[in-house]
């Protein structure tokens, strides 16, 4: 019987606080815009602090589990804090905080922002629930809730293209959700109700066909969200249509949720041995490799900036799936670190894209000539984030590429290294071209340097903060408590030594 100390309540608290914030978004409006933002911001910050407080415990390997609701003998909602969940939750919470501050400045006050803030906070709660879910049912519940309830955020602008994108999104998500549900049902049939266990919960002796079906259902279902080609179709349409503050979250953590699901499935439902014995990993490797390279090529051909960043997300998140499919310890640590690093880098890029669109009207890369003169801070952050994704030291992207690369070589797949570096080369092609255009391209008929501030502070602060976090995650990568240490702890658990 666990004592009801604060630490034991913390997992429930960090899931519940944002939900409370979401519920309060409408009533708080009568207190005024500023008050509402401050209250929501305080709730978000409290959530972030709570999640960060859970990190040391997760790092030490303490088991912290909370049972939420017991629906039926077989269906229990159950939260558990482990290293991988803590890593993902910390990323989610921090990025949501930055995005909230950005939204405060970005959204036009046209009456729809109440809806936005409400669903924004709600989705943070669901996503933290996904991070801390302890069994498949909890994962399914929170995942579905969160996937479907971000629809109002996707169609926030209510332009025809936003609605079309939202419809496409919902169709894809429902299909994926059905596949996940099917997979969960199969798992229940095969293994009964068991929480996630690092060695897997399925019995290797069961019928291979059933195992394969379960695997592909789950992976394909999560793969829709993880934007694994060819299930990626919603990403390039939804990202430009959603408001920039939410696109940052979409690319940063939402797509990563699908990868998170795949990680959970491969390591804690199937387990390393069973997954290797099934023989499905080479297929997954091939699919992920194609995703990385093809999405990067298509990114380089896009002119719309947000679409280009969306394709880049598909490519980068395929790294995670690629790493998972190799079933080796170091490369999986690289995958986890990459989720975290990519979130902040891509978040910073989308914040910049939002600023460029709203302050300077720049939506396409071909319009970016001379942008650095008009928006120096934005372009500086863009450059840092772009270099980070390319993998230039000492930024965080280099850390994830390094760990992935060494891990790939240690796992004995030197050809996969080519995919990794090819993706990095293509990332240089499609991300540094806008930087070149902004700094060194003749700006044409733009006016002289403007003296007025380039953007409200509430939008610049998250931008700069994301860049600083990326630099910090790169420079101080090996510090305990930061993603690399959490990733290694998680990997130790998965591969049996912890």
């Amino acid at each position: 019987m666990q004592q009801a100390t604060l630490m034991n309540l913390l997992p429930t608290l960090v899931v519940a606080l944002p939900l409370l914030g979401g519920a309060l978004a409408l009533p708080l409006r009568r207190l005024g815009e500023r008050t509402r933002i401050l209250v929501l911001g305080a709730l978000c910050a409290a959530t972030t602090l709570g999640v960060l407080a859970l990190v040391p415990g997760a790092l030490a390997g303490e088991a912290r589990a909370v049972s939420l609701v017991h629906f039926a003998p077989q269906v229990e909602l159950y939260l558990r804090v482990d290293a991988m969940g803590a890593l993902f939750a910390a990323t989610v919470a921090t990025l949501f905080l930055l995005a909230l501050v950005y939204s405060a400045g970005y959204l036009r006050r046209d009456g729809r922002e109440t809806r936005y803030f409400a669903f924004f906070m709600l989705s943070q709660g669901w996503m933290l629930g996904v991070a801390f879910s302890g069994n498949l049912v909890t994962l399914l519940v929170f995942y579905e809730l969160f996937s479907i309830l971000v629809y109002p955020l996707v169609v926030h602008e209510e332009t025809p293209e936003a609605i079309r994108a939202g419809t496409k999104y919902i169709v894809y998500i429902l299909v994926g959700g059905s596949l996940i549900l099917l997979g969960v049902i199969f798992t229940f049939y095969l293994a009964g109700e068991r929480p996630f266990t690092p060695g897997g919960i399925l019995d290797p002796g069961t019928d291979r066909t059933l195992l394969l079906v379960t695997f592909w259902c789950l992976v394909a279902g999560f793969g829709v969200k993880a934007a694994l080609m060819p299930l990626h179709g919603w990403v390039p349409d939804v990202h430009p249509a959603a408001p920039a503050s939410f696109s940052a979250l979409l690319s940063g953590v939402m797509v990563a949720t699908g990868c998170f699901g795949i990680l959970r499935v491969v390591f804690e439902v199937f387990g390393v041995e069973l997954a290797a014995a099934l023989g499905v990993m080479p297929v997954l490797t091939g699919v992920a490799a194609v995703s990385v390279l093809l999405a990067a090529i298509l990114a380089a051909g896009e002119d719309d900036l947000k679409r280009r960043l969306a394709w880049s997300t598909i490519s980068q998140m395929a790294y995670v799936v690629l790493a998972v499919s190799l079933l080796a310890p170091h490369v999986t640590a690289g995958a986890l670190v990459h989720i975290s690093n990519h979130a902040f880098l891509k978040g910073a890029l989308f914040f910049c894209a939002g600023l460029l669109a709203s302050q300077a009207g720049i939506r396409r890369v071909s319009e970016m000539a001379g942008a650095a003169r008009r928006m120096p801070v934005t372009m500086a952050v863009f450059t840092i984030a772009a270099l980070g994704i390319v993998g230039v030291p000492p930024l965080s992207g280099f850390i994830s590429k390094w760990v992935l690369g060494v891990g790939i070589l240690e796992a004995g797949h030197p050809l996969v290294l080519l995919v990794l570096l090819g993706g990095a080369l293509l990332a240089a092609l499609y991300l540094l071209q806008p930087v070149w255009m902004a700094y060194f391209h003749a700006p044409g008929a733009t006016g002289p340097e403007r003296r007025r501030p380039e953007a409200p502070l509430s939008m610049l602060i998250p931008l700069v903060a994301a860049a600083l976090i990326s630099i910090l995650l790169g420079l101080a990568a090996a510090m305990p408590g930061l993603p690399l240490s959490l990733a290694e702890r998680a990997v130790a658990a998965f591969f049996g030594s912890g």
Partner: protein, 899 residues
């Protein structure tokens, strides 16, 4: 191993100082200039102190807990040497730039970038493991981009793009190599860690390639002649003088540390064989590089471009020395020392040469050698200093180049003697030819620029270079001479102890200094080479051989550019493709071989172009197929959805019809519908007739107020009764007739019949009104008037029957079709419940307002159209519902019966 924070200070101090440069520059240029000199001077002092400490303590270490674990810094003798000359050249170049950059813009950016690059360079040479090395190496490459693109001219931008991509590609190769090394268990640079088996060859190749890009090694050298000339002259000096040495340093460390077995391993071990093989490869790369560099250098007219090609060539010397040293294993001290010393020497004289050429351009305004001349009179000090530097690079005795070149030459000879391979003899010959070519090239430079007749427009306006520039060049020239006279300062001070510490017996150095240095043989060889150079120069100038150019496709750059254009086209980056296409136009063809070269061109266009086109087509096809597939899937999905919606719509319609028919009854035939509508119209006509009769009765009553109230009422009552009777009879007759018509001829006949009847309405109404008025009195008196009524009625009915029979004929022109209220319209009126309520209310109020004596009877209310249609609707509804209920009862009864 002593821990010394001086390393950290050396590396990070310029980086931190660079942060202050923009701020200072905004306040005052002089302040910023002073700050920059202070920083570089401090770095120089720091590196001198470092060298002294290293000599005293052996090896220094430092570390910072950053990145993946720890950033390791190590200073041994070689690091100290590299740091020393880097800081020195930087100091001189920065001093020079104070005067030079006055004509350039964005000076803050230049100085800040310069300091960051200095910091990165020191980080490279002081790095203790490969990750640290990579960090600073990449920073070096990427920040130096700012120096290359500084002037912002289109040429500079093209060169910068090319430089950038080569840096990225080299970085990727380097990173793969480093990852391989780590995967094999290695990592720290000093001391040597044994590497496991595995992809040693691949790792070595990748590392050499990655470092070779920075070092200007063939085949990845072609960015150098584009990037170095377009930078401002002090930056060119830094790029050529110091930065490319970072690549050489990396190759040196790979050879001597990573791929050398640990100390104590017997020389017969297989691991040493790998080292020897690698050394041989690097030697050959060096030989090819030096040859290619010098041949291309001879053909240049732009002074800086020529110097850039010579950088490539001299790097070849360094690589040949390092390679020979590695492949000689235990006897390799002379080769390695020669290579390292040449790195130092080259930094000194190449920087000086670039600064000198820059000074000439600064004053005379041109970089083209063929446009200058006779400047020795106007710029004597520059001329003298350039002579010193040129003497250094051509290897004349008493100058530093002589020492390093002889050492390398001896190492090559030793390697040939050791292995007996004929290829090494060829290598040695190429070495001598290259040296001769270098001499020829610099005779050409000095001769064309400083000697001879001036070809300038205004030679008198050229002044001597500013003092800052002269001091900088002078400072650089001092070690050129000093090291030429006393090479032991470096060789025995830093290189020998370093080699000893690394486990390589340094006797070769002492042997060299004792036997070969300034020996007759070496001096003679040097002078012979110089003479050969002179001959080459003379022949070349006489026959214009220096204007020869190779066809474009022979250069690797051309192939790389095509590949780049292909990638850009595949990914749709039209802008990038355009930039690449406008890069340097093809070079000219010699007049005497124009036919052959045209043939080459055609072959290249078809051959090379074909390959490129095939690849392009393959890539484009792939993306096209994918795009089309995606489009088709989306299209068919959309079509399917449209059909689904249509089907759903139709299903919905059918369902609605079903429900309606269940509620309201099946819609009947058109004839039935028409009859219903006609019924309503006829009913209305009947009521209207009664109303008209009543109005007629009441009319004269108004006029004749003499009549009593009661008499008037009785008369009105009688009129109404009579009119109602007659109208009713007419109504029944009409309905029956219409029904017959409909039964006989369908809806059209009924319609025609109704139209005919409609034409009779007015006459009938008049007749009935008259009859009613006439017989009203009789009726009110109580007489029996039935016969009178039927007498009046029959002609009316007959007349109408006749009219109906003639209805087969088309109606006369001009007669409008009577508009019937269709059942749907009736339903619509019925549905307008609100309007109906309004009518009722209006009627009620109007009736209530009238005098109670003139209240019409309730039948008048009944005759309002909305009321009539409502009543009709209710009746129809009741009938239909009754029908449905009956049907249901029947079905249930059947069901029970059957069950």
């Amino acid at each position: 191993m002593t821990h010394d924070p001086l390393l950290l200070a050396l590396v990070f101090w310029p980086l931190l100082a660079a942060l202050a440069v923009p701020w200072l520059g905004r306040r005052s240029e002089r302040l910023r200039d002073g700050w920059v000199m202070l920083v570089t001077g401090a770095s120089l002092l720091g590196s001198i102190v470092l060298a002294m400490r290293v000599v005293a303590a052996g090896r220094l270490e430092a570390g910072l807990p950053l990145l993946v674990g720890r950033l390791e810094f190590v200073a041994d003798h070689f690091s100290a040497m590299f740091a020393l000359f880097s800081a020195f050249v930087w100091f001189c170049a920065t001093l020079y730039s104070l005067a030079y950059m006055k004509t350039q813009r964005a000076r803050d950016r230049y100085h800040a970038a310069s300091l960051v690059v200095l910091s990165a360079m020191l980080g490279v040479v002081l790095a203790g493991d490969l990750v640290t090395l990579f960090l600073f190496f990449e920073t070096l490459g990427l920040v130096a981009f700012l120096l290359v693109v500084h002037t912002g001219t289109p040429e500079a931008r093209r060169a910068a793009i090319q430089y950038f991509w080569m840096t990225i590609l080299g970085g990727i190769a380097l990173l793969s190599g480093i990852m391989l090394v780590y995967a094999m268990g290695g990592g720290p640079l000093v001391p040597a860690t044994p590497l496991g088996e595995g992809h040693r060859g691949a790792a070595a190749a990748l590392l050499v390639l990655g470092f070779g890009v920075k070092a200007g090694m063939v085949p990845v050298h072609f960015w150098l002649p584009n990037a170095h000339p377009v930078a401002p002259s002090p930056a060119s000096a830094l790029l050529s003088g110091v930065m490319i040495k970072a690549g050489a340093y990396g190759i040196f460390r790979s050879l001597s540390v990573l791929f050398t077995p640990p100390q104590g391993t017997g020389y017969a071990d297989a691991a040493w064989a790998f080292t020897a093989q690698l050394g041989l490869t690097v030697t050959w790369l060096g030989i090819v590089t030096m040859a290619v560099g010098v041949v291309l250098a001879l053909g240049q007219s732009n002074a800086k471009r020529m110097l850039a090609y010579h950088s490539i060539s001299q790097m070849g010397f360094i690589l040949a020395g390092l390679g020979a040293g590695a492949c000689l294993l235990g006897d390799g001290a002379m080769g390695t020392a020669g290579g390292l010393l040449h790195a130092v020497n080259h930094a000194l004289f190449k920087a000086s040469l670039f600064l000198g050429v820059g000074a000439v351009a600064f004053r005379a305004g041109s970089l083209d050698m063929y446009d200058l001349g006779g400047l020795w009179r106007r710029m004597p000090i520059t001329f003298a200093l350039m002579l010193v530097a040129a003497a250094g690079i051509t290897g004349l005795p008493l100058f530093n180049g002589f020492v390093s070149k002889s050492m390398i030459h001896h190492a090559l000879e030793a390697a040939y003697a050791d292995s007996g391979a004929a290829s090494l003899r060829v290598a040695e010959r190429i070495f001598l030819l290259t040296a001769a070519g270098t001499a020829a090239s610099f005779i050409k430079l000095i001769g064309l620029v400083f000697l001879g007749r001036s070809k300038l427009a205004e030679p008198e306006s050229v002044r001597e270079a500013p003092p800052a520039m002269l001091v900088a060049m002078g400072l650089l020239s001092v070690p050129v001479v000093v090291l030429g006279l006393w090479p032991g300062l470096l060789l025995e001070g830093l290189v020998a102890p370093g080699l000893a510490a690394a486990g390589v017996p340094p006797d070769g150095i002492a042997y060299y200094l004792g036997h070969y240095f300034l020996s007759a043989g070496d001096i003679a060889m040097s002078l012979v080479v110089f003479a050969m150079g002179g001959v080459i120069f003379a022949i070349g100038m006489k026959f214009g051989l220096f204007h020869l150019h190779m066809p474009a496709w022979l250069s690797l750059e051309w192939w790389f550019r095509r590949a780049g254009r292909g990638v850009a086209a595949v990914t749709g980056q039209a802008a990038a493709g355009r930039e690449a296409r406008h890069a340097r136009p093809g070079e000219h063809f010699l007049a005497a071989v124009q036919g052959v070269s045209r043939g080459y061109e055609r072959a290249q266009k078809h051959g090379g172009g074909l390959l490129g086109e095939l690849l392009l087509a393959a890539f484009r096809g792939m993306t096209l197929v994918y795009g089309r597939l995606q489009h088709r899937v989306a299209w068919s999905l959309r079509a399917a959805r449209r059909r689904l919606l249509l089907g759903l719509g139709e299903a919905g319609l059918a369902r609605r019809q079903l429900v309606e028919s269940l509620l309201v009854g099946l819609p009947g035939s058109p004839a039935q519908g028409f009859l219903e509508a006609a019924w309503g119209a006829l009913e209305q006509e009947r009521h209207a007739t009664v109303r008209a009769a009543l109005a007629g009765a009441g009319g004269p009553a108004h006029a004749a107020r003499t009549l009593e109230q009661g008499a008037r009422e009785a008369r009105a009552e009688a009129t109404r009764a009579l009119a109602g009777l007659m109208a009713g009879a007419v109504f029944e007759a009409r309905l029956e007739r219409l029904g017959e018509q409909a039964r006989r001829g369908g809806a059209d006949a009924a319609r025609a019949g109704f139209a005919a009847l409609h034409r009779e309405f007015a006459a009938t109404r008049r007749a009935i009104c008259e009859a009613a008025a006439a017989l009203a009195d009789a009726r009110s008196r109580g007489e029996d008037i039935v016969r009178a009524v039927s007498e009046r009625l029959e002609p009316i009915i007959e007349r109408e029957a006749h009219a109906l029979i003639g209805a087969a004929a088309p109606p006369p022109l001009g007669a409008a079709e009577p508009v019937l209220a269709s059942p749907r319209q009736a339903r619509r009126r019925r549905n307008a419940f609100g309007a109906w309520l309004r009518d009722m209310a209006r009627l009620a109020i109007a009736e209530l307002r009238q005098h109670p004596s003139s209240w019409p009877h309730s039948e008048a209310i009944d005759t309002e159209p909305s009321v009539v249609s409502t009543r009709r609707g209710i009746q129809r509804y009741a009938r239909d519902v009754a029908l449905n209920i009956a049907a249901i009862f029947l079905l249930v009864a059947l069901f029970f019966v059957l069950l």
